[in-house]
């Protein structure tokens, strides 16, 4: 099988102190959705940050489209085609929705309009609110701005750190639908989620992490059907 679009292989490391990740491997194929789930403190977000270069790896490597990018800074990885939506403070609150999208495309000079049009088609509400300050929007709409901003670089991989944290169930379903739509356009998605059941339902690949190690790795459907996983992580 060909190399996945993005793979963090055998990642071991932490924020300087003790290791948080232990030989952890996360990968996502083109146009697919990979989901990282697990209990609190399992290192889900840390694993994603490691893939994005926000912490130093002692061992292991990260490859994007077969190329080793382990030595690149997060900013350089953005330029290489990785989009990242942080869990918190992921918008420019005092700037308008449209300016947020413009800033997302800061490293691109050409054809921003077309990409912006695609984002507006994906999230029609943003077109309506494009001249409003992003900080004045509701939680769900802010998340749409955050995802839209990351899409403006036209990434090959989009990474989302708990995008549904703090939004209502209805908005959550809506966001998941949009994420599936994004994946259909060929963008690979790596998702860290607290709402494991719903996330695995849309996942092509699921990673259950416990204490910074891969505990279960399978397709989303298989993990949902696995009695062990259900009992331990999905509440029965």
């Amino acid at each position: 099988m060909a190399d996945p679009v993005l793979i963090g292989e055998g990642m071991t490391g932490g924020y300087g102190g003790a290791d948080i990740l232990h030989n952890c491997t996360i990968a996502v194929e083109k146009g697919q959705i990979a989901v990282i789930v697990g209990p609190n403190g399992a290192g889900k977000s840390t694993a994603m940050k490691a893939v994005f270069g926000m912490l130093k790896l002692r061992e292991g490597s990260v490859r994007l489209a077969g190329r080793d990018i382990s030595h690149l800074s997060p900013q350089a990885r953005v330029a290489e085609g990785m989009g990242f939506v942080p869990q918190t403070s992921n918008i420019f609150p005092s700037m308008t929705v449209e300016e947020n999208l413009e800033m997302g495309a800061f490293i691109r000079r050409h054809n921003i309009r077309a990409t912006m049009e695609q984002v507006y088609e994906l999230f029609p509400i943003l077109r309506e609110k494009r001249n409003q300050a992003a900080g004045e929007l509701s939680g769900g709409q802010r998340q749409q701005v955050a995802v839209g901003r990351a899409l403006m670089t036209e990434p090959t991989v989009l990474m989302l750190d708990e995008p549904t944290a703090g939004v209502s169930p209805i908005v959550m379903d809506e966001l998941f639908d949009r994420i599936i739509e994004i994946a259909r356009t060929g963008i690979s998605i790596l998702l860290v989620e607290q709402n494991a059941r719903q996330a695995l339902a849309i996942a092509d690949k699921g990673y259950v992490l416990v204490q910074g190690e891969n505990r279960y790795t399978d397709t989303g459907a298989a993990l949902l059907a696995d009695p062990q996983v259900r009992k331990s992580f999905l509440g029965g």
Binding site: P74, Q75, V78, A79, F84, P86, S89, N90, I91, F92, P93, S94, M95, E99, E102, M103, G104, F106, I107, R149, T153
Partner: protein, 336 residues
């Protein structure tokens, strides 16, 4: 009752001077608010760098005057402003490279930046005094008045006179133009938007590919230009003395904090509030009330709330009240 004379009197002694003073403060306060939102510290060297930049303009003015260059009726200093700006921007960038960039690299706390800027303030202050001395330097030339008290009285036939000095008119017009340009820059250009983005969310700005060092550079350049304009206009209006520029630090900070730190619009509004408060509280209202009250009820006292020497106390009171009761300021800025 003579309301028209009262109006003329209050315009002459209070409104025009406050408007000019407020415009000078606004240009300075804008720099404070920009530095606070981008570099995230309170720039204590603001008043003294303003003095140094103005010294540059004065040097240029004297050189031009010696060469016989004149743009009368406008003051020659206007021609020297670009030279002063180059000096000022060079100085600010040198201070950034020598002092602040180190603290950025080690991610120092804001308080350490403030103390560093205090050091820069003392050094700058010393340089300015070495260059200019501690006394007053006058560099205003050209036509002093747009119209004088006598001309106004002859023209209108009113008992009360009013004058408009060219420095005052120049200040108000320049400030307006500069504010419009600054807002256009911040809201419409790529560089301006990147500054706002960096101010809003530093980490996300980095992720979006905005280069922080470039944003910092643009901030110093704009601040330098604002400082030279503010300092030159203040000097034309009131004469140049290094100590006066140091003292401007308080009203400029009061303006920026009152308006809401980080909000350019707030800095402008705050500056005019501070200016009108300072002059309103220390102005002798007797003349105005003499015109306004019915005969026999004229005030016998000066009707002055505080002597002029206490005008900084007014500003200080504003600052304390804002910090106690609304630390975010009028336009919801950041809390210091």
């Amino acid at each position: 009752m003579e309301p028209l004379n009262a109006l003329v009197s209050v315009t002459n002694f209070m409104l025009i001077p406050a408007l000019a003073y407020g415009s000078q403060l606004a240009l300075g306060a804008l720099g404070i608010t920009l530095i606070y939102s981008i570099l995230r510290f309170a720039h204590f060297a603001h008043g003294d760098t303003m003095a140094l930049g103005t010294a540059g303009v004065i040097g240029g003015t004297f050189y031009l005057q010696a060469q016989g260059v004149s743009i009368a009726p406008l003051p020659t200093a206007l021609l020297a402003i670009p030279f002063g700006m180059v000096v000022m921007i060079g100085y600010l960038l040198a201070a950034d490279r020598l002092v602040y960039s180190y603290y950025r690299r080690v991610k120092a706390k804001p308080l350490i930046f403030v103390m560093a800027s205090l050091g820069v303030m003392f050094v700058t202050n010393g340089i300015t005094r070495l260059l200019m001395g501690v006394g007053e330097t006058r560099f205003e030339d050209g036509e002093r008045f747009l119209f004088t008290v006598r001309e106004f009285r002859d023209f209108t036939g009113l008992a009360e006179g009013m004058a408009l000095r060219s420095a005052q008119a120049l200040t108000i017009i320049t400030a307006l133009v500069v504010m419009v340009i600054l807002f256009w820059f911040l809201n419409r250009t790529r560089a301006g938007k990147s500054m706002r983005a960096y101010s809003d969310n530093e980490d996300l700005a980095l992720l979006s590919g905005i280069n922080p060092e470039r944003v910092v550079l643009i901030t110093w350049v704009i601040t330098g230009m604002l400082l030279v304009l503010a300092g030159t206009l203040y000097g034309l209006d009131k004469g140049f003395r290094p100590f006066n520029y140091f003292q401007l630090l308080l009203p400029m900070f009061a303006a920026a904090i009152l308006g809401g730190l980080g909000s350019p619009l707030g800095a402008i509004v705050g500056a005019y509030v501070v200016a009108f408060a300072e002059l309103g509280v220390t102005y002798a209202w007797r003349r105005v009330f003499t015109y306004l009250m019915p005969e026999g009820l004229e005030p016998t006292s000066m009707m002055q709330i505080l002597p002029v020497d206490y005008k900084f106390a007014v500003t200080f009171a504003i600052l304390v009240i804002v910090l106690l009761f609304r630390p975010t300021g009028i336009f919801k800025g950041k809390v210091i």
